[in-house]
């Protein structure tokens, strides 16, 4: 009896090293042997695409890279698909890009730089790099953009960038896109939407979906793309397959593993408790 009990007790108290190793192995399997799980497009992703389509002919889009490098497993796919959509399918749209997290330069180099080689820099797109100050920066860009952005990332004065001629602040943008892992989207809603009614669409980690749902139902944002699942759906909708779909496959297997662990933990707990009684 004690051998059985000690087995159940041991199953209910597996050391963290084993759980950690198991997690890495389970996640590695679908990379080595892809499963190809079907992808179902949810309405939220369709609304996000609709927000992109709604940008008028020759419109201006503010593209804010607010994602830390660690989060790009989720946001990287949606950033790449969205910038490809604008550069390849909507060359008429002007993209003004900056970032509120200092990793934005690394994110730009990894997910955006090569796509922009096909664009007319200075006319179709401009890149301003990292702007410190979070709330102060977001408010300043909405009120008086040229008051802070005097040169682009490469040191070219703003006056020489044709795209910036009639852009002075939030009212001049038809859409603001924030791909965020650190809560900057809340500041954009507070300063850009509440004050200038700028249309905002945010891409973020799936952990922030509950807050985004709340903002969406309150009408503060016109769309959101949540986590790897949203990114994989957006890649499919925009027809630009990318990293998100392979990660999406992995995510499903890992999710089942997480659900399994939750059940396993409870089952072994109850069996141990029953035997103790």
């Amino acid at each position: 009896m004690s051998a059985k009990k000690s087995l159940m007790y041991r199953l209910s108290n597996v050391p963290h090293q084993v759980i950690g190793a198991l997690t890495l192995i389970v996640i590695a399997l679908p990379y080595l042997m892809p499963v190809g799980i079907p992808l179902k497009i949810t309405p939220y992703s369709e609304q996000f695409k609709a927000a992109l389509d709604a940008v008028p002919e020759g419109g201006n889009v503010a593209f804010s890279l607010d994602s830390a490098m660690g989060g790009t497993t989720e946001t990287g796919g949606m950033i790449r698909a969205t910038i490809k959509y604008f550069i390849y399918d909507r060359p008429d749209v002007h993209i003004v890009m900056w970032g509120m997290h200092y990793d934005c330069v690394l994110v730009f180099n990894t997910f955006v730089a090569d796509v922009l080689e096909d664009a007319d820099y200075g006319k179709e797109v401009a890149w301003f790099g990292y702007i410190p100050g979070t709330d102060a920066a977001i408010a300043k860009l909405s009120d008086d953009l040229k008051g802070i952005l005097s040169v682009d990332f490469y040191g070219t004065p703003v006056a020489q960038l044709e795209i910036m001629d009639n852009i002075n602040g939030a009212p001049d943008f038809d859409l603001l896109l924030s791909f965020d892992t650190y809560g900057h989207a809340d500041s954009y809603v507070g300063h850009w939407y509440e004050r200038y009614k700028t249309k905002i669409a945010i891409g973020m980690l799936s952990g922030s979906i509950p807050v985004a749902t709340m903002r969406f139902t309150a009408g503060q944002i016109v769309g959101f793309c949540g986590g790897v699942k949203g990114a994989a759906e957006l890649e499919a909708l925009l027809k630009y397959p990318g990293p998100a779909y392979t990660n999406y496959d992995v995510m499903n297997v890992a999710n089942l593993f997480a659900i399994g662990l939750l059940l396993f933990g409870n089952i072994t707990y109850f069996l141990t408790k029953k035997e103790e009684r």
Partner: protein, 203 residues
Amino acid sequence: MVLELGPLVGATLILMLFSWFLYKQTVLYDIAEGVLIGTGAGYSFIMGIKAVRDNAVLPLLRGETVWIIPIILGFVIYLQLSDETIHFSRIPIAIIIGVGTGLSVRRVLLAEIIAQTRASMIDFSALDTVGLINSILILVGTITTIAYFTLSREQTGAFGTVTRIGRLYLMATFGAMFGNAIFGNIAVVAGRVEEILRGFGLM
């Protein structure tokens, strides 16, 4: 199977850091942590210098003399590093805090309190039965959870029941957010597993 130096160095460093939970703390983990802290400190300093150069020094050199004030105040911040001169540094810090507080009060007032209060005011008569039940449940949740956060009354008696319901709503909120956070964070782990596999040429 050609191994590239860069991804191989990356994959090795990831495993050295992971050794803390896969095994226990070792010298390998200490090295990885030291590299993270060192490169991180250098990187944020560089990004700060670039932001100041692009947004203040270059405009100043082009004749916009007003930028000399924040640049001087910026150097004054560094006076906090010695006890004799720390009080000087409080002036630029007061500017950062004053502007930051003012803007967050503006944002919070507009986007949080008014918008959320407004969003709670639903026209109940226009809802179908399911919508009505859900809206009542949301309303009960909002009010009982606000009650839970009152600090000046003991949570006993009838008021205790209200706050108890509020606490159960909070548990539902924490469970929902935890469930969603799991999904997002697995993606971060997946990205590292992919980097390990690519680094060692297994993918």
